[in-house]
């Protein structure tokens, strides 16, 4: 018995608590049941494991840039940087294993739900958001119940994400049919709240026939913003330079010195923007690497269990239907967010960090949905709604997750914030120490 107990403890500590190894094992099983050749199965598992390790390195670089940004921009507004007792990397280290299991078990529950309840129709296949939603749900649960054990966390987490993946494509399906003109695939993206509001309110501000964005001509110069690595580096770098001009000069010099004894603080400010963008690029590279192995396995499982089901897909699948609306939504989101950044800073509420990826993708998506119902006015409204969600969400959720993974607040889409708000609200009467 003692040996068995030791063995189980060893497995829990070394396989289930090491997220990189656990993801590798999940991919190993997932590819093996697709009857791939041994060397393919093995290589897939190794690639997925490396992807998780690269993700961790990216988070380190990204969080370093994030902290510098919050310190300097905060100082320009005379604010303390937002407080955080834990970091995303800590949280993935302690709870990463549970998160990997939430994705896997959550997906299986989701597939069973869609199989048993045919009206649900859509199988959620946007892999990176399956990962992030599992992380954010786990963090919100641990914030409410710090002593929740791994079994309860995996169970509750899996059920919550499975319900979200089942309902999100469904409630937006009517609007989605109007956007893509068919029911061939559903919308599976955590910007759904902004898109739904843009579609619902779009018709009130304009009309698709009279104000179609695709009749507009936007300046070609804006095109470089479509590369999110470039736009992140540029926007964060420019704001750093502006903030450096207003920040406490001793603090600025101190921060720059931490990075290099010889670097000029102004050059350091630019480097922060570049490192921030580089960190996000590395982080995304890691996520891409393990998703490339997991998503085809998930698709294989759902194709086999629910033949003829429709996939719910990532936001860029709606972009071809109104590329100009994407740019209108993105620009409206960015302008809204930057205005709120000044307002929140001047009012002393919070040092907001512009999340360029979330301004581009959800902003673009809300633009396309808004355009389908209200032309460019709807697209612009969609962008503004997304900008509001991102600013208010970041400012409120940072504090709600400060004991787990506050940086998630700067990486979030509208639905992430809504899920955290809901979990907080529902668990408030039961939350323990």
């Amino acid at each position: 018995m003692e040996f068995l107990r030791q063995l189980l403890t060893w497995i829990a500590n070394n396989l289930f608590n090491q997220v990189a190894i656990l993801i590798g094992l999940i991919v190993l099983v997932g590819t093996a049941i697709q009857r791939k050749r041994f060397e393919e199965v093995f290589a897939a598992a190794i690639r997925a494991t490396l992807g998780v390790l690269i993700l961790f390195i990216g988070i380190d670089v990204f969080v370093g840039g994030l902290l510098s940004f919050q310190t300097i921009v905060g100082s320009a507004f005379n604010l303390m940087p937002p407080k955080a007792t834990k970091t995303l990397a800590d949280f993935l280290g302690t709870h990463g294993g549970s998160i990997a299991l939430i994705i896997t078990i959550g997906f299986l529950i989701h597939v069973i739900l869609v199989r048993l309840l045919p009206f649900l129709r859509y199988v959620y296949l946007t892999g990176h958001l399956m990962f992030w939603i599992s992380v954010i749900v786990a963090a919100a649960l641990i914030e409410s119940f710090p002593r929740m054990g791994p079994t309860a966390l995996v169970l509750w987490g899996s059920v919550i994400v499975a319900v979200y993946w089942s309902l999100q494509p469904l409630y937006i399906a009517r609007a989605m049919r109007k956007v893509i003109g068919s029911d061939e695939w559903g919308y599976g993206h955590t910007s759904s709240a902004a898109c739904y509001l843009a579609a619902t309110l779009g018709g009130a501000v304009g009309s698709k026939d009279k104000h179609d964005t695709e009749k507009l001509k936007l300046p070609q110069r804006l095109a470089f913003f479509k590369d999110v690595n470039v736009s992140t580096a540029v926007i964060i770098g420019v704001i750093m330079l502006l903030a450096a001009a207003f920040a406490d000069k001793t603090l600025l010099a101190e921060q720059a010195k931490k990075f290099s004894a010889t670097v000029d603080p102004w050059v350091w400010a630019v480097l922060v923007g570049l490192r921030f963008a580089a960190g996000i690029a590395i982080l995304l590279f890691g996520v891409r690497m393990f998703l490339a192995e997991i998503v085809p396995a998930f698709k294989g499982i759902s194709d086999k269990l629910i033949p003829g089901s429709r996939p719910a897909l990532d936001v860029p699948t709606v972009f071809p239907f109104a590329p100009t609306a994407v740019m209108v939504g993105f620009l409206a989101s960015t302008v809204t967010f930057l205005i709120l950044m000044l307002v929140f800073g001047a009012a002393g509420w919070f040092t907001l960090v512009p999340p360029m990826i979330m301004l581009f993708f959800p902003g673009g998506g809300a633009g396309v949905f808004g355009n389908a119902f209200g032309g460019w006015r709807g697209a612009m409204l969609g962008g503004v709604i997304n900008g509001l969600f991102l600013a208010i969400g970041q400012a409120t959720v940072w504090g709600m997750l400060s004991n787990t993974a506050p940086e998630l607040a700067t990486l979030g889409d509208p639905d992430w914030y809504i899920l955290v708000w809901l979990i907080k609200l529902v668990t408030a009467p039961f939350a323990g120490p």
């Binding site: 479509k226 590369d227 999110v228 998503v295 860029p316 699948t317 590329p323």
Partner: protein
């Protein structure tokens, strides 16, 4: 119809950050190429990495194809990421224009 290129085709599917839709498009492209009987290796990437990837064919949505012109001999815009039949038709037409398929 005969495939005249010797080595397998290097195909790259591209989207903004190279995670969601490019991966779905990769699965569609693999199916389309297999049904055409064309030997190919399909990978997916983001806009930035696509530039240095040295692919023979790049598949991406129209929003991005203008930035990608010149990064591969063939840059093909795709509207429907799930449409295997449509992609087969477009690809075989474009391959014939290139003289890769006779």
């Amino acid at each position: 119809m005969a495939w005249v290129r010797g080595e397998p085709l290097r195909v790259l599917t591209v989207c903004g950050v190279g995670m969601g839709s490019s991966l779905i498009l990769k699965m569609t492209a693999e199916k389309a190429l297999a049904e055409l009987g064309i030997p190919a290796r399909v990978e997916h990437a983001d806009l930035g990495s696509a530039r240095g990837a040295g692919a023979d064919v790049i598949l991406a949505q129209g929003l991005h194809t203008s930035e990608l012109t010149g990064t591969a001999p063939l840059v093909v815009p795709v509207t429907n990421f799930l449409d295997v039949a449509g992609l087969k038709e477009t690809l075989s037409r474009r391959f014939r224009e290139q003289g890769w398929l006779t």
